[in-house]
Amino acid sequence: MPRSRHWLTAVPLAVYGCAGSFPQSTLHPRSDFAAEIQQLFTGIFWWALAVFAVVETLLLVAIIRFRKSERGPPPKPTHGHTLLEIGWTLAPAVILVFVAVPTVRTIFATAGEAPRQALQVEVIGHQWWWEYRYPDLGIVTAGEMHVPVGKPVQVSITSADVIHSFWAPALGGKRDAIAGHVNRIAFRADSVGDYLGQCVEFCGASHANMRLRVLVDADTSFQAWVKTEQGGPAAPPAGSAAERGKAVFSRSACIGCHTIQGVSPGVIGPNLTHVGSRATIASGVFPNDSAHLASWIADAPSLKPGAIMTRMKPPLTDADIAALVAYLQSLK
């Protein structure tokens, strides 16, 4: 869709919340949690619109009707009117009851408690990437979170450093990731898809680049994903570039920060055991292709301001990096 049309569609979209190509929109709920909020917001929106219409109309009428007619009779000095004033104290209060009651209902309905059998996912915010752990499945991954469609999911959110906030609008509201605290949200996604989100609490230099995606998979593909993730890393074929890459990896600083199952134990950066199976790297900012991987390894901070991953070239050479890229891509 050409960009100019977005503007035209945005207005009715905001009002009706119907579908469009806004992958991070709050108006296109794709889970029970998001739908509850959407419904609540729609109600508040109509009340607000009504108040807006009435009050602004009164204001407009007042200023148009009572513009000074030259040399007209002086206005009557009214100082107040008790009944009127009681009226316009009560009316908003009554309207607010209609806002407050569904609000409280929704607060309790979306308090973050999923049924016991729900899929458990732990989300840990890091400067500036997301780590996902599936304690029951023994999976650790980064950047992209997979969940099955139609099944309840319980997300527990915390942080390893500063405060972040986990948000995938299509699936529901955000919760802050705070070290030493665990926040919980619960949802049941209702359609398969690839949903964008990002960190929404300012967390330093690359806050803007702390994006994320949630992949809602059909049941079978979710099971397949779980299976690959649970397996060890693919062994690179002998003599291949990937095997050379593994050697480079094992003798470089990489091992200090990254885990590859059976190869290295680092925990400062994302777990790379299955990095080849991700669509994006660096927390959803770049596509996972050879070019981006290579320049990322060469000099991450120049791609992502402030990135904790230091510049690797030098000591690495272009050949080393090409081998590393081949290796990482083989880690499906």
């Binding site: 960009r3 977005h6 503007w7 905001a14 806004f22 992958p23 929109s25 709050t26 108006l27 909020i37 609540l40 929106f45 607000a48 807006f52 009050v55 204001l59 007042a62 200023i63 009572f66 007209g72 002086p74 206005p75 000095p77 009214t78 100082h79 107040g80 009117h81 004033e85 104290t89 908003p92 209060a93 607010l96 806002v99 407050a100 609000t103 607060i107 309790f108 979306t110 450093d161 500063v162 405060i163 609008p169 509201g173 955000k174 919760r175 705070i178 070290a179 926040n183 919980r184 964008l196 960190c199 929404v200 609490e201 300012f202 330093g204 230099a205 806050h207 803007a208 301001p305 402030g306």
Partner: protein, 619 residues
Amino acid sequence: MSHVAASAAPAAFAFPATPRPRGLKSWVTTTDHKRIGLLYFWTAFCFFLLGGLEALVIRLQLAQPDGHLVSAATYNQLFTMHGTTMIFLALMPLSASFFNYIVPLQIGARDVAFPRLNAFSYWVFLLGGLFLNASWLVGPLFHAGSLSVAPDAGWFGYANLTERQFSPGPNIDFWVLGLQILGISSLAAGFNFIVTILNMRAPGMKMMRLPTFSWMTLVTQFLVITAFPVITVALVFLMFDRFFGAHFYVVQAGATPILWQHLFWLFGHPEVYILILPAMGIVSEVLPTFARKPLFGYTVVVYSGVLIGFMGWGVWSHHMFAVGLGPIGDSVFAATTMLIAVPTGVKIFNWIATLWGGAIRGTTALHFAVGFIAMFIIGGLSGVSHASPPADLQQTDTYYVVAHIHYVLFGGTVQGLFAGIYYWWPKMTGRLLDERLGKLHFWLTFIGMNLTFFPMHLIGLLGMPRRIYTYGPELGVGALNLTSTIGALLIGVSVLVFIGNLLRTRKRGAIAPNDPWGGATLEWSIPSPPPVYNFSVIPTVENRLPRWKTELHEPITDPPAVPPAPIHVPGGSWWPLVAALGLPVLALAPLTHTLWLAFLGAAILLFGVYRWAFEPFEM
């Protein structure tokens, strides 16, 4: 209903005993509330331009997806300094310029209760503002590898990002120390104006005869003196963490960074009412004057202002709905927050009722006052949608909030202040601002602000977070952002028109009579600008609209142009400035890790205070 015809003769302030002082020294040492008011105005206006310029760079960066006008680091400094500057260095002191200039005139006083403390407040504000903004230029002194080391953690500087571990540079030091300095200025002014309003009223000026603007000033000052200590404590903790290795916000030590959020918003929410109440006071003065009708429901407007002040203390956690306070806490804070809509609504309805049945003169001041009401409603209603915690979980930290804050702060406070400027400028300078340029200014502002801030509602709902220096084209918000940027440039043009108006009318503007508008309050009974002693004879007030004829009473007679007896006017003083100078020097000590500066700063401060305390200064 009529008003007193403006007395034709311009001021006869040439009373021999009290010549109008001249020269730089007279400004630096001034203790005259009117001059301090003007100093506040010009200083704050410059900071407003600076904050606006920062906003324009922000807007240019965001005009398109993947913008690269400025770096991430610079952008983070820009929005932090934009918010901090606008709130602490532009809007609060612009309100202060009216507290200073107008309140003593409205209550029939010769000056504020403590003129030298008043000068001290101003100098501390100026020095604090310069200290904070020095961070833009002094990077090399800190070997920072960049020119600017401006604060970069947002105007609410959430711990633990602000800890030394995550923000090692001097950036946050500037912020912490600068805010501490500014807090002292606000507190000093707070005590001063509380006493002035309670204690310096002209005979007969009972509290319920106090003009609404003075009332709102009083409420504001109570909020200032109660809210600022809380942020002071929060900042002291942060200072100890950063400079002395304490652990107030360090998770590993068992502390929680959420403590900061509670302390900050306990201050921060009252702070937003500190920003809006003076503007509400201005609107409550402007509407009656130009509708030629008393404020509808004066008592209710006053009490609702007081109520807003009180209720403002019970809602702070609505900034923390995503923190996870539990459903009960969320429900309670949702309810208290929504309740604030009631007293605020009451004000809106009373203002409309004031206009209703009036004989409205469409001056620029009235335009801005009506613009205030129209825009504040939008900001208030988006506020109510934030007040619903589940809804806010989708809104918080997105541009939807940015839309809310600018509708209340720009649509509300800034427009209210502009109304005040057009209304009181003739009193303050003796020249009327040009009405044609004024209307142009208004319409450009009005259109510009809606073009800038309305799309932000949609941008936010479509998922764009705030405080990001860049966003991807896939979000689909590029066109909306471009619209917003164009709007911001339009606001820029409107500000230029305003500056043009200020400069043009300095020499060429129509001479203002005592009372160009037919106002009901005392400031209009004296020359424009008023003589140093304000009132040749302190008036005795018998009702709430002293200068109007109503069904109940006749207008009072204005004080004579020439004082019947000599009036003693206190001279100036150097010591407030000297004492104020001690504070930035003190602040330099931790900033540069230089102990002797601490002693020097304390010595200057003490020296200033002692000389001040023992200098003969009679009012």
